[in-house]
Amino acid sequence: MKNPLEYTGVGQPGYLNKNCWLVKNLNYAPYKRCQYCNYKFRNCLFLHYQVISVAIIICFLTLFFLIEGKISILVIFSLFTLVIIYGYFFNKSTEKIIKANFDQRKAKIALEELTEKLEERVDSQTKDIKKKAEHLEKLLIMRSEFLDVASHQLRTPTSVIKGTLSMMKEGDFDKLDKEKKQEFIEGMFQKSKKLESIINDILIASEMDTSDFDIKVEDEIELGKFLEQEVKEHQFDASEKKIKLIFEEFSTGPYKIKGSLKYLEQVITNLLDNAIHYTSKGFVKASIRKVGNNALIAISDSGIGIPKDDIARIFNKFIRGKNAINVYTDGSGLGLFIIKRVMDKHPYSKVWAESKEGKGSTFFLQFPLLG
């Protein structure tokens, strides 16, 4: 007969738990089955009562047939008592062994369960750490790519300003006519503005990363005139690249909204800058229309477009479309991130993009109209 205490595992034959019949009550049946593990036991107590009964019968038969006299009866009763005492202690000790084994088993199972739980926890935490490490690694690569491009963008205007100034210093400038001199000064001025805008983007993006970043949305803006003005200010950049920059109003104004003038200037500037920079030929169009109770601005271009896979994450920091990584841009790489954060701070407003790689992109801005 197998020792039930050697069996392990819930649902396995011989699985022992605190409700096991064997431990709870030892009764007089010759065999019992554990209600949980269905294991068949021989009952020890029953066995001993069998032994005792046989012993009594033997004693009485001996007394009756062979021996006569009081001393013999005393001896027989003493023998009988000894057998009972032996049976009692045998049962007690068996019970103790079973209980001790049970406690040991219980402790072992508890330890095994604890070990299993710990292993599961360690496994899950290891997976979690691995996932975080992979994410950090990706972030570091993106940051490094961003820094490579950002340092290029910062150096480009610097090299123009430095180059022009060095020629002035060395006296080369004196050999230029007035018109050419003016052209160089204008170039230097534009590059200093560009440098300022890149530095601003970097500073604003860092500010936006802090938890207490907030925008005061309290300027009343006529969006149509505001957009038209922004388009005018970008005409120079577009004409330099021989790109048509068009403003269109598809419905009659006014388009009054509440917003932050300072930050919305940045939004429109970033979108127009991007459209111009990623378009080598064709057009950039800024339009406004009313859609229900909203004003909808669309800035579209005939540029390189955004690959389908990149469009969902294009508003994340440090992200450029795969087709834009190796091409020259004048920006910080933070423009769309800034736009998204600004639009998120304008109640009931949103920004989204639609694009076809190689055909062009359209960025939409939606604001609730006042009144």
Binding site: D148, V149, S151, H152, R155, T156, T158, S159, V160, K162, G163, T164, S166, M167, E170, D172, K175, L176, K180, E183, F184, G187, M188, Q190, K191, E240, S280, N326, V327, Y328
Partner: protein
């Protein structure tokens, strides 16, 4: 002796203006283009004595252009200086391995310095 001809493949017009003025002032012929593909055509057709090549162009990567220049038997002997603001060690190593004679960061030097460097290479 005819004047040495420099081809500048660069997409930033303000930079082109500065170097165009400086190189011509120093007695060198100077031609330029903003597009990589056009640069490859000009290199083959006009046989410049030296090419100044930017790294991040609108249509192509500088290293891709360099590779094509070195693969073409008509342009492979033309010395190419990578003249860029893209300061990355791996890219510099890659460009030098592809056959560039130098990798120069624009913001670290002045127009006079690059003219001097070009003249040195042309005389060797």
């Amino acid at each position: 002796m005819s004047r040495a001809k420099i081809l500048f493949i660069e997409d930033d017009l303000d930079q082109v203006k500065i170097y165009d003025f400086k190189f011509k002032l120093e007695g060198l012929d100077f031609i330029s283009t903003q597009h990589g593909a056009e640069g490859l055509r000009m290199a083959e057709a006009q046989k410049p004595d030296l090419i100044l090549l930017d790294m991040l162009l609108f249509d192509k990567k500088g290293t891709d252009i360099l590779k094509k220049l070195k693969e073409n038997e008509h342009t492979q002997r033309i010395p190419v200086i990578i003249f860029t603001n893209f300061d990355k060690e791996e890219t510099a190593k890659e460009a030098l391995a592809l056959g560039a004679v130098d990798y120069i960061i624009k913001s670290k030097i002045t127009p006079s310095d690059i003219v001097k460097k070009v003249k040195e290479i042309l005389h060797t």
